[in-house]
């Protein structure tokens, strides 16, 4: 079969790959993309998007439970989990179709099959209908993402022991669930299943849930989850996971004592590993570090002309980071001088209820940096909009450099936290200081006022607390 030439070949069409492909096309390059699953990658199909649909369902269930509070009498009602999953599939399908539409619009070729690098310029695609050889005249962009990890000796069978990928499409729900890992994925699934009446236990080896977040955020989420009867066990080491016919036994060690927990199902949420097997990286000599591909500031690997973006290239395994890297790679390939990705300014979001969002340094990290800092905190209980909305759990916390007012970090638990965080993201990009935030008028009443007040609090003069 003849070799098809393109300027750029993108392997993987997740948020990193499809954004890179579109940006390349915008810059006048001819682009082929290779996908061995569905366009849109884990994010659109099995991750971010369908879980957000499930979490919205969980939120609606939560509102039904609170109907009385709003003076609404609800007759008999039923929350059907299988329909929630079906809805999430429709959402995912629609978004994945959106990617295909964008490819057509930008005249990007999509090949279904598994891509392997034969050289720095040749990608072989093994599809259902045979093999195709693609020539990349300018560059290859690898964007094959990541896959769920497990614990040593624990096999994910997607029945008794499931990964997020298995859980997201499973229309049935267990009566009880043990979530291993209290990062964003574990906490989000715990939220969804608990809303649908599953008895959920969350196990975390580190001393707190959402361990990368600010300590006060972890404390708040642990407290709110406990109030929802979600069992939170931190500082717990999982010794073994044994599926049986009745369910799964999880042997744990906590404070020196061994204990066995039982549940219908175990969800493994202990992190993700780069998906690089079978790509031909070793043969080509592409350098990796602890499983992740090593890249330059323009996302180029150790092999000239081969770029790598997204989860497989390390740093935060987040879709928005992958997208930003995709743009950098595309612009570098097109001969521009893109601004490198600022890995210190990547928003982190967990879409549980209430939501969690953060950017920059935690208070502890800022203190460890040796600078004198100022911390301001504002609770949503003091926000008129939050009270009116009946969503008063959480706070906005701002960590700033005392001398300059530099915004070192912002941490939000509460309604729309994942939207509110961007005020601080923009501020940090522009190197705004606390002064610029407080001299920006914030509409009243809004949740954003909490960000404004937390900033005032960092300067020592909040108005509303």
């Amino acid at each position: 079969m003849a070799t098809q030439p393109f300027d750029v070949v993108v392997v993987g069409t997740g948020p990193g790959g499809y954004v890179a492909a579109i940006r390349c096309a915008q810059l006048g390059l001819s682009v082929a993309t290779v996908e061995d699953d569905r366009p849109g990658g884990v994010c659109l199909n099995w991750g971010c998007i369908p879980t957000k649909a499930l979490l919205r369902n969980a939120e609606v269930v939560g509102l039904f439970n609170r109907a009385k509070e709003f003076g609404i009498t609800v007759g008999e009602w039923k929350a059907d989990y299988s329909q929630a999953v079906q809805r999430s599939r429709r959402v995912a399908d629609r978004m994945a179709k959106g990617v295909e539409f964008l490819f057509r619009k930008n005249k990007i070729t999509l090949l279904l099959g598994r891509g392997t690098l034969k050289s720095a310029r040749v990608v072989e695609v093994a599809g259902k209908d045979g093999a195709t050889t693609l020539e990349a005249k300018r560059a290859v962009i690898l964007a094959t993402g990541s896959e769920p990890k497990s614990l040593p000796g624990v096999t994910i069978d997607e029945k008794r022991v499931v990964s997020s990928t298995g859980a997201v499409t499973n229309e049935g729900r267990p009566g009880s669930l043990i979530v291993i890992g209290a990062g964003a994925v574990g906490i989000e699934f715990a939220d969804v299943y608990a809303a649908y009446g599953v008895a959920v236990t969350v196990l975390e080896a580190l001393p707190r849930v959402l361990p990368i977040e600010d300590e006060e955020v972890s404390t708040q989420i642990a407290r709110l989850f406990s109030r929802r009867d979600i069992a939170i066990r931190t500082g717990v080491k999982v010794k073994s996971v044994t599926p049986g016919s009745e369910g799964v036994s999880v042997e744990v060690e906590a404070e020196g004592k061994i204990e066995t927990l039982k549940a219908d199902q175990v969800l493994m949420a202990v992190g993700r590993a780069a998906r690089t097997r079978g790509l031909g990286l070793e043969a080509l000599g592409v350098a990796t570090e602890r499983g992740f591909v090593t890249v330059s500031a323009t996302m180029e690997t150790s092999v000239k002309g081969v770029y790598s973006i997204g989860d497989m290239a390390g740093h935060q395994l987040l879709a928005h980071k992958a997208m930003a890297e995709g743009v950098v790679a595309a612009e570098a390939i097109a001969g521009q001088s893109p601004r490198p990705v600022d890995y210190g300014n990547v928003p982190s979001c967990t879409y549980c209820h209430p939501q969690v969002a953060s950017i920059g340094l935690t208070e502890a990290a800022a203190r460890a940096g040796g600078r004198e800092i100022a911390v301001g905190k504002f609770p949503f209980t003091a926000s008129g909009k939050a009270v009116a909305q009946g969503e008063t759990e959480g706070f906005v916390k701002v960590v700033a450099d005392k001398a300059t007012g530099e915004i070192l970090g912002a941490h939000i638990v509460g309604p729309e936290a994942t939207e509110l965080i961007h005020e601080f993201a923009v501020g940090r990009t522009l190197e705004a200081t606390l002064d610029e935030i407080i001299h920006t008028m914030h509409a009243h009443p809004t949740l954003s006022e909490a960000a404004f007040e937390a900033t005032l609090a960092a300067l020592g003069h909040p108005i509303h607390i």
């Binding site: 601004r339 001398a403 300059t404 007012g405 530099e406 522009l430 190197e431 705004a432 200081t433 002064d435 610029e436």
Partner: protein, 464 residues
Amino acid sequence: MITKVFMPKLSDAMETGKVIKWLKKEGDAVKGGDLLVEVETDKANVEIEAFGAGILRKIVVGEGGTVPVGEMIGVIADPTEDISSMAAAKPATSAPAAGAPAPAAKPAPASAAAPAAASGPLPAMESYQSVPATTAVVPLAPAAAAAPAPAFAASAPVGGRVKASPLARKIAGQTGVDLRLIQGTGPGGRIIRRDVEAAQATPRPAAVPAGAPPPAGAPRPTAVPARPQFVIPPRPEAEFEDVAMSPMRAAIAKRMPMSKAPVPHFYVTSEVAMDEAWALREQLNSLDGQPKISVTDMVIKAVSLALIKNPGINAQLNGQVIRVYHRAHIGIAVALDQGLITPVLRDCDAKPLARIAVESRDLADRARGGKLRAQEMSGATFSISNLGMYDVEEFSAIINPPEGAILAVGSVLQKPVAEDGELRVGRRMKMTISCDHRVMDGAMGARFLQDVKRLLEEPLRLLV
């Protein structure tokens, strides 16, 4: 605002200049920093930047015209401004016909727009400055009020805006880094935090006293006269050697043109009767157990008190605003073998003279020993350079940006003084302040000097 464009004095020896080419036409919009006109001097052709903003309303000296330094060669003004009084400008000595007369505008009786800077000797960098219009001019053009305003207001800052992030501005403000001297590496050349931090890492050189210019009227030989044959015996040493610049010399070389070129300096000199101060100093220094007080210490104290009284001098241009300081942090120029450095003595307004004496000596000693701390090398609000110990009667110094002014102090000399019709011998000291004309004006500098002079002439005021 009306800005007269003068033939600039581009070198010490320059007496006349020729307009080679106008880079803007009459009617063109001009803003600060635009290249306006190309001028030929005795040494080179130089493109001159505009200081004022507005419309190039009138070209007074056309291309090819030669005029003396300081002669008006054009007028920049708002479109509505009455510049008819400018039409009377003296024609160039050999100017071809200048451009068409200014657009018809009603003569304004009160538009004596800018008499101040047009007369008198012109210091090098003052020859080309904007002159504010009298207030009478502005309201006189009601008819033109409906005319569209130019995109850039006349209030546009001279020299252009410094693009810098708020954080960069704050750090610069706290560390005394001058944003105007930094190349930004952010988007669109914006100065961001790392640029300021990088600039902080580079030591700050000190103000350099300006070299005394050769007499302006010194005749230059026009032809080589016949001379007797004279054979120079061969000399062993090379004709010249290239000496590597010390980092400090390189920094001074880089920094000083950044002051002298963009900062329009003006100078005010005053003579102080130092008899009382001298006597007081001898008295103080005869006291046991008291630190020795120098003339510089007394000047520092006097300057600091005068700065608090004249905050307009204790000020500097900071982007679009004038930052006025309420503390007197005095930079003291200290000569070193390889250059000079200006350590900063903080809060001199609040420190007693004896304390200033102790601290200034300590700073100077450590400056010579290369043992200054970083924070002692920045943050001055005003600097003093004293060359009195070199028997210098007077000199003028280059402002050390971002500061707005510097005081150059000469020796205390014994001189014949006429007083009450009698001649006697008195001690006199001359001091010259160099001021950033963007921030302050001549009268302010003069009032400040008057206060310094009074304090030194009644030196007990330095002790209370």
